[in-house]
Structures are given as structure tokens and as C-alpha cells.
């Protein structure tokens, strides 16, 4: 038993999931239709209100639904539409006007519309609130100009979560506004960026007079930072939340490699893998405990623990795998960017996928908030330690040095 939720809620979720699977057998139902049925039944995000893809129950019960749906062969929507499921859904349901949420959530849930996150800029990474992309109101339409960078999946996304500056004279956190952008707008140009794995998962996005109806603003004008917090907390939870199954995730890959390759084992490596397993399981249990303890409260800064540990654990696990492989670790499949339909993730089952995952893990301590920034959050927000002495918060954004 992994939750203290009343049995009735758990039963409701399980019964609903079983009914969806019975009425829409995953193997014979098209993906979008199956995911649409899940949404309509309230299983996309069980903690969302009824009618918005949820059942209004504890978020911790999502696992109950997912294990039944995916156990029956259903798709894993988070891996198809990660920014959509992990961040856009929770942000839209909390901050969009009801009619806009109703328009956006279902195609998101069916994965007919993929989402991306237009936050980071060349001059604003860790210092997200320092961003420079401008949005100016023209009648009832916002006109957006600027440059975003590191935008994962922008090349396939239909919609974007966009944070832009609407008041350069306000202190930086107070001059931001949050929007949902249609990526097919003619003012949007996406250019792929290649990463060290060879793949081009992320992009530069140039916004040159892109237009957004005011109805697609989330939250009040100037209140974008607060809305962005919803997104970032959910991002960290989505990245760091980990699985509730022992031995899944990257540690699972290491255990599998260990079992497949007895020829490579040494006592020193055995000790290392044991220590990594213990760390992975402590992180898993901490995630479980947080889910139970938070009940239906939204996740707070404690979610950053999972993101911090998960990122560094992934790196340590793949370091281990490479050391286990010995000289085989010096090989690589191909750095040519993969093309075609299969580029949904950077993970390619192939003879050298350990090496690829190893390289990919270097980004884990950067994407979704760097480990340094997360340690600041833990120190300041959870432990109440004094913050850095700030030179950038008390004055108008336009006067703060950037570069």
C-alpha cells in the first residue's frame, strides 16, 4: 500500500481505468482515441477537476490509473508529450480561462497537439526572470518579439508555454506575463540545435511579431512569474518525481546491464552498483513519502529534492555503466541526427544506447534548473537560509546588467 488515500478514491480510479481498457482495448484502438477516452474518463490527470481530464482525487493515485492503462498495453503519454503532460496541463488547468482550458486540454491529452516551453533565452537561463522577449498589446492581440533557446521539441510542437516581458520598467519579476502561443503563427521560426549526443532535441525559436489573442494569456498582466512557478514546480516534479517502482529508471538500466554482462563484473564495481541502488531507492522512497505527506496540497519546493538527486544519480549511474563496459564504452552508434518519425526522444534502442544515454545525462544537471540553482532553492526556501545579496531585484529590469 503506497498511499493513505481513502479506498473509495483508489477504487474509483482503478474501476474507471479498467472500464476504459475494457471499452477501448489498447491494441485495437488508435492512440489518440484511447488517450481521448482516458481524458474523458478523468484519467489523464486524476487530480484535475471532473470535465478537465480528472476525477478530483489525490494526485498520488495517478500511478493506480497508469499502471492499469499501461499494463494493458496503453501508450505512455508523458513520453510522447512530456511538456504537455508534465507542465502545460497543470498550468493551463490552474491559470487559463475555463473556455480556453476546455479548448486546449483535450488535444493536449490525446497528443494530437504537442507542447513546448518557451522560457529560456540566450541571456536568461538560471535567471529566467531576467528574460528580454517583449510582448506588446495591439488591440486585443499581443505581438511578441525576441529569441528563445534550448526549446525542446519546438520543431514538433503545436503550442508553447511562453513567458515574455510586458513591462521593462518594472522590477524584473513584476514585468512578466504568461501566454499560450500557437507555434504555427507566421511570426514563429524554429531552428534546430544539435547537442553532444548528435541529436537535435532542442531548438532556437525566433519570434518576430508573433501574435497571440489576449484570451490566450494565463493569469494577469504582470503576474507571469507566479504562473511560471506553477510550471517550474511541475517541471521539477515531472523530471524528478521518479517512478514508484523499485529498480526502474536509469538504475534499472544499470541493473540490466549488470545481469547481462557477468563477464564484466568486478568486486569494486559491485560495491559501486550497490551504493547506487541504495541511493536510487532512497530517492524513490522520498518521492513516495512526499506524495503521501502532501496529500492534495500542490507540491512545493521540496519537489526540488527529487530533481536534484535524480539528475546527479542519472549521471553517476551512467558513469558506472561506462566503467562497467570498459573499452566498449569508447564506441558510439552514430552522431548523425536521427531523422524520420522516430525522433520522439533521444533514446534509440541500439547497440550503443548506454553511451548515448551517458552523454544525454550530462544535461540532467542543467535542464529544468541547474543543480546549483536547485541547491539554492533547498537552502533558501526549505531551510530558510539567507539568500544571496541581490543586485537585480530592487530596480527596473532595463537597468540590470545582462549578458
Amino acid at each position: 500500500m503506497t498511499t493513505t488515500a481513502p479506498l473509495t478514491h483508489r477504487d474509483l480510479v482503478a474501476d474507471t481505468a479498467r472500464r476504459v481498457v475494457a471499452e477501448h482495448p489498447p491494441e485495437s484502438t488508435p492512440r489518440a482515441e484511447f488517450l481521448g477516452a482516458c481524458f474523458d474518463a478523468g484519467l489523464a490527470w486524476v487530480h484535475f477537476p471532473r470535465g478537465s481530464g480528472g476525477l478530483g482525487v489525490e494526485a498520488g493515485l495517478q500511478d493506480v490509473a497508469d499502471s492499469i492503462l499501461q499494463g494493458a498495453g496503453g501508450p505512455v503519454p508523458f513520453s510522447i508529450n512530456p511538456m504537455g503532460y508534465g507542465m502545460a496541463g497543470p498550468t493551463v488547468v490552474e491559470h487559463a480561462r475555463p473556455e480556453v482550458a476546455a479548448e486546449l486540454l483535450r488535444p493536449l491529452a490525446t497528443c494530437e497537439e504537442l507542447w513546448c516551453q518557451l522560457f529560456s533565452e540566450p541571456g536568461a537561463g538560471s535567471d529566467l526572470a531576467g528574460l528580454a522577449t517583449r510582448a506588446v498589446l495591439d488591440g486585443d492581440t499581443w505581438v511578441v518579439t525576441g529569441a528563445k533557446v534550448w526549446t525542446s521539441l519546438a520543431h514538433r510542437a503545436r503550442r508553447a508555454l511562453l513567458l515574455a516581458r510586458t513591462d521593462p520598467d518594472a522590477p524584473k519579476h513584476r514585468g512578466l506575463t504568461y501566454f499560450v502561443l500557437d507555434m504555427t503563427d507566421p511570426g514563429v521560426e524554429v531552428r534546430p540545435l544539435r547537442q553532444m549526443t548528435g541529436a537535435a532535441e532542442f531548438n532556437e525559436v525566433h519570434l518576430d511579431g508573433a501574435r497571440i489573442p489576449d484570451t490566450h494569456r494565463l493569469g494577469e498582466v504582470g503576474d507571469g512569474w507566479r504562473v511560471a512557478m506553477t510550471t517550474l514546480m511541475n517541471e521539477r516534479r515531472a523530471i524528478g518525481g521518479g517512478s514508484s517502482r523499485r529498480g526502474s529508471g536509469s538504475i534499472g538500466a544499470a541493473l540490466q546491464l549488470w545481469r547481462e554482462r557477468p563477464d564484466l563484473r568486478t568486486p569494486a564495481l559491485r560495491d559501486r552498483l550497490t551504493a547506487l541502488f541504495a541511493l536510487a531507492d532512497a530517492a524513490r522512497l522520498t518521492g513516495e513519502r512526499q506524495r503521501v505527506e502532501s496529500g492534495d496540497r500542490p507540491i512545493g519546493p521540496e519537489g526540488s529534492i527529487g530533481k536534484l538527486v535524480g539528475a546527479e544519480l542519472n549521471q553517476a549511474v551512467y558513469d558506472f555503466c561506462m566503467d562497467l563496459l570498459g573499452v566498449e564504452a569508447t564506441l558510439y552508434g552514430s552522431y548523425d541526427p536521427p531523422d524520420g518519425v522516430d525522433d520522439e526522444t533521444d533514446e534509440h534502442a541500439g547497440p550503443h544506447d548506454v553511451q548515448r544515454a551517458f552523454l544525454r545525462s550530462r544535461a540532467n544537471t542543467i535542464e529544468g534548473g541547474t543543480s546549483e540553482v536547485l541547491r539554492n532553492i533547498l537552502g533558501e526556501r526549505l531551510l530558510g537560509l539567507p539568500g544571496d545579496i541581490r543586485v537585480d531585484t530592487g530596480r527596473p529590469w532595463r537597468e540590470v546588467p545582462r549578458g
Binding site: 531576467g130 544539435r194 545582462r402
Partner: protein, 373 residues
């Protein structure tokens, strides 16, 4: 020779090496060569050889070289590491030449070494097994009747480009070295698709290849010659790691100075500043261990075997840590293909696993120091 004190000649040599490496291997050129079939430029090799005399540094004078030692070779290696100069230097100069010299086979040395010194001959030492294991007790290539070689080896450094290869094979009296022509009938070579695109490894298939035994009965056994070569190459790889790590430290510090976030240079944040300080410590340790190994070999300041293993363990760890920190300090940019850091990172990962890897070096080091007799 006072350890760590370079002579004027050695300092001048470092300048020459830095100059030629910087001019021959600007980053665009390294990237261009990464995509070519052979992976390096033969003209650059000739420049390093006949023009500036760097390839013959550790070749005895009687074979046209400079008769210098490992200290000099290490200085050159450091510069090739700084620039990631692509080319078969490790296979040729750091592995095949010392192995050949250790066999005491004068006739073969006379034939091959002048070409090495000129930069016209590429050599490789094929001393792995068919899965890439270094210096197997039971070689996976066997010498049959008439000295014909049959078998496979993998992860042979510079094996595809080599004009001639020294191949470790099982003979009647145990493992022995044989000379094989690069274009010998029955030899097929396939470049292995590598993590580090600036070094090439090959899989060799030998099917009754005509070969010549190398070595004089009086000289070291093949196993000892391979061990000598490995020790030399370990020092060269260690010195190259120092150059590469120094380059990354420099770029991290520069970036930490100029990149502004929260209205301040990121280097003003202690998390970043301390990371840079740790990188400095790593680079300093790596440099000490690499230079010490070179001096131990040339001047006997320490047991050369122990010093080489120490250098491998210290520099491989330092190189890897510095590379990871460099990515981290640069944030998203450090993860891109366009940024040079990944080239150094992949070099660090790959070099740490070559020639038996740092795990084997650590095991030998443990045997030498943990339970002294």
C-alpha cells in the same frame, strides 16, 4: 636533470609544439577532419615530422631521430591534447615505436623509423584481443605455418591508417610480435565508430596474412615490449589529458567571468567559483603526476611503472571531472555540438578506457603500494 625543471631546449620545444599544433589544428579543422575517412591530414603529419622534427623526438639518433626522452614527448603530447590535434601520434610514436625499440630488432627499426621521423609512415601496435582487451596472455591472433597470421583484434588505435602494424600473435614459444604490411593480402581493417571522433580505432581481421617476426632473441620478450609501449603511451595520454584539461579550465574561467546572470558574473557565485577552484586543483595534480611519470622514465626519479600508473589514475579522473565541470559551468551551451567542450569530454571518457584503462592502472598501483613487502 632536476625534476620539474625544464631546460631552455625543452621550453623552446614547447613553444614550437604549441605553435605548430595551434596552427595545424584550429577547431574548424579538427571538426572537418572528424568527418573524413582517415580522420587526419597526412600533410600535417609531414609538417610535424620533417618540418619541425617533433615526431622523431623519442627516436634514437642512429635512426634519424632526436634521441630525446619522454619529457620531450610529454611536452608535445600536452599541446596535441590542448588542441585535440587529430592524428595517429599515439599509435605511431607512443605505442609502436617504443615497442619496436624494446624488441631490439635493428633491421626493422632501420626500415621503419626514418619514415616515422619524416611523418610519412604511420604505425600501429596491435596488441588487443578480439574484444579490445589489452595485451592478452592468449592472443586472439595466431601465427601458423610460415608465420602466416590468422585471427581478429578490436580497438587497435590508429590501426586503419597504419602503413605497417606490429601485431601481437600466439606463436610456438608464446606471444610474439610480427610485422604486417598495411596493404597485406588477407588483412581487412574496419574503423570502429567511436565516441571520440578525434581518435580512430580499428577492428583487424587477419586471414593467413604474411608476416615477419620482429625481435632479437636477446631482447625483451614480446610481452615486455608491449608493456614498455603501454607505459610510454600512458605517459603520453596523461600529458595530453593535462593539455585538454587546462584548455577547458581556461574556457570555464573565462566564461565564468563574462557570463552575467542575476546582474552579476556567474563566477561571483560561490558554487561556480568553488567548482573552478576544484578544476584548478585537478589540473595541477594532473600536471604533476604526468610530468613526474615522464621524469621517472627519463631520469629514474621514481619507479617508472608506478609513476605511469599513478599518472593514469590521477589524470584520467582529473580530465573527466574537469570536462564535466566545464559542461556544467557553461550551462546549456556546454551541452551543444557547436561548443568545443564535448570534444574534450569524449576524449576524456575514451582515453580513460584505452590500453587496459584506468581500472587496470589502479589495480597495478594497488599491488605496488598497498601491501609493501
Amino acid at each position: 636533470m632536476v625534476e620539474f625543471e625544464f631546460t631552455d631546449e625543452q621550453r623552446a620545444l614547447r613553444e614550437v609544439a604549441r605553435d605548430v599544433c595551434t596552427r595545424s589544428a584550429p577547431e574548424e579543422e579538427v571538426r572537418r577532419l572528424m568527418g573524413t575517412a582517415e580522420g587526419f591530414d597526412r600533410a600535417v603529419l609531414r609538417r610535424l615530422g620533417s618540418d619541425v622534427g617533433l615526431l622523431g623526438l623519442a627516436v634514437p639518433e642512429e635512426h634519424g631521430g632526436a634521441g630525446a626522452g619522454l619529457v620531450e614527448l610529454a611536452l608535445l603530447a600536452e599541446e596535441t591534447g590542448r588542441t585535440l590535434l587529430p592524428g595517429p601520434l599515439v599509435g605511431t610514436v607512443a605505442l609502436a615505436v617504443p615497442a619496436l625499440l624494446a624488441t631490439g630488432d635493428d633491421a626493422v627499426a632501420k626500415e621503419l623509423l626514418p619514415g616515422v621521423v619524416e611523418g610519412t609512415t604511420v604505425l600501429a601496435l596491435a596488441a588487443t584481443d578480439d574484444r579490445g582487451g589489452w595485451a592478452p596472455a592468449q592472443p586472439s591472433v595466431a601465427a601458423g605455418a610460415g608465420g602466416r597470421l590468422t585471427g581478429e583484434q578490436a580497438h587497435v588505435l590508429d590501426g586503419a591508417a597504419a602503413d605497417a602494424l606490429l601485431v601481437l600473435a600466439a606463436a610456438d614459444d608464446g606471444p610474439a610480435l610480427f610485422l604486417v604490411d598495411g596493404d597485406a593480402a588477407g588483412l581487412t581493417r574496419e574503423v570502429q565508430s567511436g565516441l571520440d571522433l578525434t581518435r580512430r580505432q580499428a577492428r583487424l581481421r587477419l586471414d593467413g596474412v604474411v608476416a615477419r617476426p620482429v625481435g632479437s632473441a636477446a631482447a625483451a620478450t614480446a610481452a615486455a615490449a608491449v608493456a614498455t609501449a603501454r607505459r610510454t603511451a600512458a605517459v603520453v595520454l596523461a600529458a595530453a589529458a593535462v593539455g585538454s584539461a587546462q584548455r577547458m579550465l581556461d574556457s570555464s574561467v573565462e566564461y565564468a567571468r563574462q557570463r552575467l546572470q542575476f546582474g552579476r558574473p556567474i563566477g561571483s557565485f560561490q558554487a561556480v567559483k568553488h567548482r573552478c577552484a576544484d578544476m584548478l586543483v585537478d589540473v595541477e595534480h594532473a600536471r604533476s603526476a604526468a610530468y613526474h611519470a615522464a621524469w621517472a622514465a627519463d631520469a629514474g626519479t621514481d619507479d617508472p611503472e608506478l609513476a605511469a600508473d599513478l599518472a593514469t589514475v590521477v589524470t584520467a579522473e582529473a580530465h573527466l571531472r574537469v570536462a564535466k565541470s566545464t559542461v556544467q559551468v557553461h550551462g546549456g551551451i556546454g551541452f551543444t555540438w557547436e561548443h568545443p567542450t564535448h570534444l574534450h569530454y569524449k576524449r576524456a571518457v575514451s582515453d580513460a578506457a584505452l590500453l587496459g584503462g584506468r581500472a587496470a592502472a589502479a589495480a597495478r598501483l594497488a599491488d605496488a603500494v598497498l601491501e609493501p613487502a
